[in-house]
Point group: C2
Chain length 348, copies 2
């Protein structure tokens, strides 16, 4: 509770009161409250819901060196859990370089018959700054191991050294290279959070550049709108224990990526793009997700563009909590749904 209390104080300090007052007239006053851990989720997700805020959610370094240190510490912690995950899921991860871009080949011990000729491209999350190297492969390992399919995970360049469009350029380099040797009808792109943004932006870029499109995509809780619009940025503030609140958190990291570019550029905020002609898309979020709005807005926009699109929202989950615990039944459900969706739309 102490960390959370500190975080609350932190948020109040960061949001200008003038802004709150300006909104008061048209806004809804919500009294302070204590939200219990719900009984309507698995014990594993209960544990995640009860966990304190991410330790560094509002710790924003002011120097490039500060960023490197924070990112390295986070990556080191994440990587510690990877050997056990690989072992449990019987997956191997091998570094590679594709046309100059670093990536990992993530291969399950057993590739299912239907997935024999399929290949997924993964773009990791981490607010465009975090999860470099091996630490960015966690979601790819879940997918490979649970759905028995081969994955290439792009270890794209990131700020502070490499702002936009480096990450998207790298992802497109991998996409261009792999679609030359694999049939894109047997390929999908997936990734959560910043990876969800990049998944959507990759399709926009592929459309623009007349490159082949994937047969399906799975942007998980995508950072589809970097302008700060989206109701759940407000309504789920301090409730989502991963991103916690807009204004002092993941958005400050994303700002290193956007680096002064127009935030409404669809390559940065894909919800403002032309989503017509998109491949079938499955979206994943949670009821406490700070990005629930920016997930459902993409879903609605895709549906209005006539794109087959499926939405799954998990009870009580904050941002991207569907790949945090391999033992949670909801984790298997989330990937199971994506696997089924891909199986429906990818050629064999």
């Amino acid at each position: 509770m102490n960390l959370q209390k500190l975080a609350v104080v932190g948020l109040l300090a960061f949001i200008p009161l003038s802004q709150v007052h300006a909104q008061a007239q048209a806004g809804r006053e919500i009294p302070a409250k204590v939200i219990p851990v719900p009984d309507t989720v698995s014990p594993e997700i209960k544990k995640q819901i009860a966990a304190p805020f991410t330790a560094t959610w509002n710790v924003i370094p002011t120097t490039a060196e500060g960023w490197r240190e924070q990112v390295a510490a986070g990556a080191q912690a994440a990587e510690k859990a990877i050997p056990a995950l690989l072992d449990k899921l019987q997956v191997k991860v091998e570094p590679t370089v594709i046309d100059g871009v670093k990536a990992f080949i993530v291969t399950p011990a057993i590739v299912s018959a239907q997935n024999k000729n399929r290949l997924l491209v993964h773009v990791h999350g981490g607010c465009f700054v975090s999860s470099p190297g091996l630490s960015g492969t966690v979601e790819a390992i879940y997918m490979a191991g649970l759905e028995h399919v081969k994955v290439i995970s792009v270890d794209y360049r990131m700020p502070p050294d490499h702002p936009y469009p480096a990450a998207l350029d790298d992802a497109m380099t991998v996409w261009r290279a792999t679609t030359k040797i694999h049939d894109p009808k047997k390929m999908a792109i997936f990734g959560s959070s910043a990876g969800g943004n990049l998944t959507l932006a990759m399709v926009l870029r592929a459309k623009r550049d007349n490159l082949p499109l994937p047969a399906a995509i799975a942007p998980g809780t995508p950072m589809s709108d970097l302008t700060g619009a989206g109701d759940t940025f407000q309504t789920n503030a301090m409730l989502d224990n991963v991103l916690v609140a807009y204004g002092v958190s993941c958005d400050k990291r994303a700002a290193l990526y956007t680096n002064g570019h127009d935030l409404k550029d669809p390559m940065l905020s894909p919800v403002y793009g032309d989503l017509s002609g998109f491949p079938p898309t499955i979206l994943t979020s949670g009821t406490r997700d700070l990005l629930l709005s920016n997930t459902v807005r993409v879903h609605r926009k895709l549906r209005n563009a006539g794109v087959p699109s499926s939405l799954q929202v998990f009870e009580g989950q904050s941002h991207a909590q569907y790949y945090r615990d391999i033992n949670a039944p909801e984790t298997k459900e989330a990937f199971g749904e994506i696997g089924q969706f891909f199986n429906q739309y990818l050629a064999q």
Copy 2:
């Protein structure tokens, strides 16, 4: 704002502090906040989001006569808007009686070619107490007029005079009678809120009694769990301006219906039922909906039972705000999705 402030005071008075304190240890402390009206919805939905709480949300009569007065006043107000709606959508509504049960035949001026032989059965919302007679046909009128399909809307008996299972019995009487003269493969059942509960319970009852099942169903923001479980009862409290908060509102009305029965009985709380073998189901909710959790829980349970099921969640919407304004583009989207879904699964 005055009504809202009063409501806040009302809520605090109604929730026992001991309960709040008991939960505090494992719960998340959310500071008081002002939530602005988002810019990410249509002007029509903005208006709905900015509206004060439903005037009677926590006004709970203590006598049968008090209930009758409140319900009659609400019905009268709702009915005032119906002639203009009928005119705009070119729909006619005719009262009928089916095997002793009151109902309305809701017919659009133009029935689309694909819907020529199709018939939808509608069970209205209103927390099991409200929206009797013509006032309960609003959602059916939207469906008939927007999707060009014939609807029978059940004017089921309600408390205080007729608690459970009267409403469900009446709905089943209509279902039994209509499926004798119409092919159930060309039929669907839909309804929101209490009507979503009844839609689900009707399928459970039809399964139990070996009656024909509909070809598809559309429970909108269903009251699928009358026990009070569901995270968004807490997280969206005071944010949803239709139901507002659990404990003093729609649940007190539903208690007249459940009338001492076991709340975990799947006929009362369908989320606890065996949903295997259900027909394809499309669910609708909003990010501010007090019943978002109990919508997504049904979606997950259906998917885990292998039922084709689609979820649509609308940005910023509170409980069942998708059939409040015929001019909101989101309204047409919501019914358009349901219409497409029915078209996919109903025989012609």
